[in-house]
Amino acid sequence: MSEHAQPLLSVRNLKVTFRAKSLVRAVRGVSYDLAVGERVGLVGESGSGKSAGALAVVRLLPDYAELSGSVTLEGADLMAVTERELRSVRGARVGIVYQDPFSSLNPVLTIGKQLTEVIRTHKGIGRRTARREAARLLDVVGVPNADERLADFPHQFSGGMRQRAVMAMAVAPRPALLIADEPTTALDVTVQAQLLDLLRELTSEHRTTMLLITHDLGVVAGVTRRVMVMYAGRIVESSSTEDVFTRASHPYTVAIHNSLPRIDVRQERLVTIEGQPPDPARPVVGCPFAPRCLSRIDRCTDEEPPLMTIPTARRAAAESWDLPSISEEDGDPVPGPDSPHLTACWNPPTHPVEHESPVTP
């Protein structure tokens, strides 16, 4: 496909460091491409850097966050532009849906006022037209009696309705990229499914690219074509959504699958991943997942694995290749629309994944 030649968004070696008491390395070198119109999942647990990494794309992080690397959106380097220029990117080209619709709407302004303001800012149209457009959008996102509800304040909306309104605001300026940061986490399950459907509709209508951030593999399953799994500030696995579910090739992804509660097997206790994610304030030595990993080998504790294709990863494991030869063989693959299944593991699990409770050695 021709769009694949020129990705919509290109992130290279993105690093986010928070200057707290010590330096907290939230994102430690993340690279990926997003093509026009594709929907991609970014999965990881709390603190894996998935939100920080995504918000860093439009530099919406607190002042004490240091960014490095490059972010190219539609050919423009967002790390180099001024704050003023970024403002015309935010909203207009990149829309964001936040996790908690209870705190991401301004409590003192009506939904209509907030929505109209967004429309007017980006389209420069009159108040009347903007109001009609606001009512139309609210209707599109499935708020009943949209015209009347424009006069409501956020607290008069239910959680699901609020998130619909937030989505209406995010898509109002027709952004090219929609970042949905755990958009359904704060809502109950029935509403979750509806909103995911809505996100899919909204993005397919204008071929909007969507980066769906979540800690829930189930959320990703029906919505995205491919998935990137993050752990401790890096992408550790990238593949099609299907492969992540059937041929997970990073022990962390496998462990996530194993920890999903199962209905067909009687479990006395839920399966968890033993141990804690590494402290992001400490420097990482070796693979950050190694201390919790069931298929750990010696190399894991010494050297952090790069993202590799699966065949390279296996041969590297079998023949103990050093980093330069891996790099030479693979050409430093970047997760993108056409990239093969990638893993950052010195000892990738074999397939099919056996869904068993892991036994601590």
Partner: protein, 292 residues
């Protein structure tokens, strides 16, 4: 013009919210009811002064310092002027001072504090040190100094008191703005492309007024007191103008004629205490009107 006004109305108050707001403004305790009643009666009387009272400046040297009578309900002062009338007209001056001090000090303080809190960093540090300098003087001292320098007129009294008071509002709003600007909907508004000016004035500031509303209402009383204090000390309002503080000062020379000093003193006490009692309603409504 009209467009701007309509826009404000559109965003201001939806019917349901108005209902909730009115409901929360209903007095619930005896003292609140008393405060509201006193304020309403006094303001009505002050407003209707020309209809229900004679000329406050008309002297009748034949009957100075007369006690209360059917002709002069509260008696007369040392120049035979009707005290009832002077109380009402004096109330006008006091109210004007109170309201304009708040508007001036409030506007300056809010703007200053909002910019300081939103900007943060060095700008905030410098702006707040200036506020500290103002606050290091007792406010009545500062008002006295400024008033003495400018001369005794109502306008100057307003300027003097406002100049002493705005730093309090500036500091208050700054704290609120700093807290509100960290909330998610502010980032969300930035994510939608809002620049700093719009972000501050349409997102952060409207959410920062909670505490301010309460203090503002209570401060009307204190502003009136401060105005009277200045006049009492001879620096607020110049002499022929009736004003409660001026009247108390005049009455001090005639301690045996109790009605002379009692009227302005009581008027001041009644009004300021009523505002304090009624202030509780505003405090409650700030907490009760929905929206976080």
């Amino acid at each position: 013009m009209t467009a701007g006004r309509r826009r404000r109305l559109e965003g201001a108050v939806a019917p349901a919210r108005l209902g909730a707001a009115v409901d929360s403004l209903r007095p619930r305790t005896f003292l609140e009811g008393y405060g509201v009643a006193v304020i309403l009666v006094m303001v009505a009387a002050i407003a209707a002064a020309p209809l229900i009272a004679p000329d406050p400046l008309a002297q009748d040297l034949t009957s100075p310092l007369a006690g209360p009578s059917t002709e002069n309900w509260l008696g007369t002062d040392n120049l035979g002027r009707d005290l009832w009338s002077r109380i009402l007209y004096g109330g006008r001056v006091s109210l004007v001072i109170g309201v304009f001090v708040l508007l001036t000090a409030g506007a300056v303080g809010v703007l200053y504090g909002a910019v300081s809190g939103y900007a943060g960093g060095m700008i905030d540090a410098i702006m707040m040190r200036i506020v500290d300098i103002f606050l290091s003087f007792p406010s009545i001292m500062l008002a006295l100094l400024i008033s003495a320098a400018l001369g005794p007129t109502i306008r100057n009294a307003i300027i003097a008191i406002a100049a002493a008071w705005w730093p309090v509002y500036a500091r208050l709003i700054r704290g609120q703005v700093m807290a509100v600007k960290e909330r998610e909907f502010v980032t969300a508004s930035r994510a939608l492309g809002a620049g700093p000016v719009r972000n501050l004035f349409s997102t952060v500031l409207p959410n920062s007024f909670g505490v301010m509303k309460t203090i503002f209402v209570l401060d009307i009383g204190y502003a009136i007191l401060a105005g009277s204090t200045l006049s009492f000390l001879g620096l607020g309002v110049s002499l022929p103008t009736p004003e409660w503080g001026v009247m108390i000062r005049e009455a001090l020379q005639y301690p045996t004629h109790w009605w002379f000093i009692l009227s302005p003193g009581l008027a001041l006490l009644l009004f300021v205490s009523a505002i304090n009692f009624a202030g509780g309603i505003v405090t409650r409504s700030v907490h009760e009107v929905p929206g976080r």
